[in-house]
Amino acid sequence: MPQAVFLILGVILIAVPLAMLSGILIAGCKADPPGKAETAALNWAKHKILVHNKSQANPLKDNAAAVADGKEAFSHYCVACHGLDGQNTGVPFADRMSPPVPSLAGNDVQSYTDGQLKWIIDYGIWPSGMPGSKNTLSDEEIWSIVLYLRHLPPAGSLGEPEMYTH
């Protein structure tokens, strides 16, 4: 009889709180889209505080060859999340991430300076799924990607990344 009491108490005191905690954690980890206020606050913080290197200029000349280099470098793996056109074309999970993968042609991204875009590609950006690419790509490749971002083609004009078409 005392053993049954201890068992019941154990369930109440340990298992129930654990289950509740698990429920809270699971619900809290859902990748729900951020609200408008949260998005606005974070965008402001990113542009003004969190993303550094505002004044560094792109050392590459803005010409067709350099943009083509950027497009090539972008195709290494950026396309997995951003699509070939940088506007998420064909990326099946773009809207399901929290925050959603932004269109790189949109004002939120285009309003960063070249130096800030380089910094974001170098180090990634929090909170988002954007990873840092420093040393995975060379400085020159990253600067060429920044150039490509300034010359993105029309949305959908390049089709979908090959990895999502077979």
Partner: protein
Amino acid sequence: MSEKAGSLPPKISIEEPQMKLKYAVSTAVTAMLVATLLFVSVTRAEAAPRRIEVTAKRFAFTPGEITLKKGEPVVLVLKSIDVAHGIRIKELGVEVKVGKGQSNEVAFTPSKTGTFVAHCSVFCGAGHGTMALTVHVVD
């Protein structure tokens, strides 16, 4: 007397052409020899430019630095011992790519002096961005 006097001119007339012939032959042989030597040296220079072998392996080139001479033709041989790689010397307009475990080469003549950093031109993994080859071109 008349026989002796008459015998001299023919002797002279026979030796002179022989001398001229010998001179002409020796001149021609010398000229041919010089021409042959020049031809050999020129064709040797054209047929066998300097070859430089570079081995690529994630995430480094070996050697990591090479020195070339401006105006001297060179063949850059790139050998991969793992995945696909490439070398692009942007300032010299040179690029060579190589498949997994293969070898490839590019012939070029450096047109300007300086130190240039060439990068791997084929994405090869997490350290791809650090894979560089320093190219010195000297006078």
